[in-house]
Symmetry: C3
Subunit: 303 residues, 3 copies
């Protein structure tokens, strides 16, 4: 197979658009997973497009999508009504005023600034280290502003077309606000999200002591219906044994589903974008003890 | 995220294929739409591939598809019978004889040379400025030839596999012919399309007077069944206030669906490929007056 | 449309990742097919991504997918259980130990080393020159090793999630082994595949005498149920009339479906990646003689 690469000289000649470009990047992974007492092969490839440009007035703008994000082409369900098929694609414009992003940012401000604790395994092993944020899948908007160590984020969602049968679609629009303060040694972030009667407070704090980074996350969900929802929480530890080897452990208590997950994993950097990654996760839902342990081992690649 | 860009040096080394390349381009948009008394966020990303080459004998050839046009990979419904899943992908070969294009060109000659009047809004607001052409969605072929100010286009479609149950599938093949004469100051195009018993005559004329460009389009459809189909028509005006700002207005009478649309919009070029674009469209179907007005405002980007 | 090409200079500056890159290539075709006494237009576009890198220790790694292979992003059906939606994407790591590939390699070792005899037509005309291999569509793994003229390949599949209801999912995992010996003048390959009770022996041999290359393939399938499965076989001849023109003929006997296919075709290299290709194939299933002849003619392009 011939591999015909792109010509850069053409870029140099088209001076009028010298500020606009599309960058290609990618990631891949391959390995084995054990799950439900079965062993599987697992592989995945992702190709990412990042397009960027600058206006004459100095504003930056751009857009991102993946080769598999077809929804990036379909922002509406006919007649201009936006739906939830924007895949993971995003569009942004930024300047001294901050950055405004639209697209698949429905997790909003909390998702952006609070984030998750560390996970393990080359596949994530079900991402049981994560605790969900309040949000939707429809096209949404987020505003981010950073000054010094402080970052602020505001998110606002919108009704999907499917929800349009409700008496007041607008009331289904999720809103969120989050702030984060980060130095080299520690960071703390607080977020608040609201979606109709439901709301959620998210808190995460992390600190680095030499080779060890500890992170703790708390989520206080309130679906506006159940009277007794509890706090969900998790902690993770990352230990950089040496510049190449990192060991990670986590514990999460998904209180409201009576599920506790523990994970242990390691990652070894092979250089050039490749790492050997493996992990073990135990998911204990208090019901079926025999199907809870899963582990994987494989290679991750970034291009 | 690392952004690994493509190496051009490899192209220079592979002299045998120096004439072949794949160019990446893209477009994106973000903003707000008001529709049915609801306000929505809307965003979209598109990435386009344009592959081109030259034969030893000097013929040009190439192909285009978008990252979301998966159908470009599937031209047939099993066993070689071509279907309608070619997305918007096209393949062409051109030389002094003209240009032959296959793929998603089912709108044919009229779509290519007659085209539409100007629309408004960063999303098109339902594209009510457009009047449809006769054609299909299956893979089709189009031949284009231009000499001086005169362009000629011939299109021929084909039955889809779904239509194959009809007694004579070939009779469902759309055909079209169109001519266009264009100078810097004015242009006029005439097209005729036929698909079984249905036919349509399309006419468009445009003229530029200084900063103002006026365009008028007429479509005379005949579905071969209804006895009293009427002419559908539309006019648009583009006014270039200055090199960056353009104002557009249109009026279309979709006679056969008793719908009249009027639109007003503006576009401001920010440079570098970005523009601020907004518009208002009123769609009056003579039935429900309360849901007719829609407007949008946003940023369009090209990369 | 602006075509903004990628900047290579950025690659030179990011020395840390100088070994990682993503190459774009593509193919397209357009032409006419006659099938079931109907004539059709046919076109197709494919864009391919090949990402590669090198670890500090000198291992090569990489991944491939096409723009239409969305499944490359979805290796699992929830919770980490791998499914069959990896499209044609593959991920590999290689070194002096050989090459390990995961992803859409479910045809396994025989598919890789034995392969098919030559076919005709710019579309393949239904690929009647091919005889199927034993395998699945789920993510699988393949190991390849080559030393001098000798190549060895080992393949192992896995149960799909849909098959998980069976008592012992692992027993549905296909396995295969193949060896190939190839010189400039001749090559011979032997493969054995097993999938539960079914098995298949595949053999192919080819030899080149000046401008003529002859290839023969034999498949001995055994589905473990039918008592009297027969050998299926095919032969092809390629004749290089001159450096640009190649003529190909094939004959295949799909014994177990009582179908015999014969094909004749030609390919003329236009240079620059384009060829004119056409072929005729007769498929005789012993039932309906009137629908058996098909032919095509078109242009193939590689970028």
């Amino acid at each position: 197979m011939k591999k015909i690469l792109l010509a850069t000289t053409v870029l140099a000649l088209s001076a009028g658009y010298a500020s606009a470009e599309i960058a290609l990047s990618g990631s891949a992974r391959m390995g084995v997973i054990s799950f439900d007492n079965d062993m599987y092969f697992s592989s995945r490839v992702r190709i990412q497009f990042d397009a960027t440009g600058t206006t004459d007035g100095g504003l930056s703008f751009g857009a991102s999508m993946r080769a598999d994000q077809n929804g990036g082409n379909a922002d509406s369900n006919g007649n201009g009504v936006p739906g939830d098929n924007n895949g993971d694609s995003t569009v942004f414009i930024s300047g001294s005023f901050g950055k405004l992003t639209m697209g698949d940012v429905a997790g909003g401000a909390s998702d952006n600034l609070v984030g998750q604790i560390s996970g393990v395994g080359f596949t994530g092993l079900g991402d049981w280290n994560e605790i969900g944020f309040l949000g939707g899948s429809a096209t949404a908007a987020r505003y981010d502003y950073t000054t010094g160590n402080l970052s602020v984020s505001l998110g606002i969602g919108q009704p999907t077309v499917d929800d349009d049968v409700a008496p007041d679609p607008e009331s289904q629009s999720a809103q969120s606000i989050a702030v984060k303060y980060a130095t080299d040694q520690y960071n703390v972030a607080l977020g608040y999200s609201k979606n109709e009667d439901a709301s959620q407070i998210d808190l995460k704090a992390g600190a680095t002591f030499g080779a060890i980074t500890g992170t703790a996350r708390i989520a206080m969900p309130d679906d506006g219906v159940a009277p007794d929802e509890d706090m969900e929480w998790g902690v993770s530890l990352d230990y950089a044994v040496n510049p190449a080897l990192k060991i990670t452990a986590f514990y999460t208590d998904h209180t409201n589903s009576d599920t506790v997950a523990t994970g242990l994993g390691a990652s070894y950097d092979l250089g050039g974008g490749a790492s050997v990654v493996g992990g073990v996760v135990n998911v204990d839902d208090g019901v079926d003890a025999t199907e809870d342990l899963r582990f994987d081992a494989g290679v991750t690649m970034s291009f």
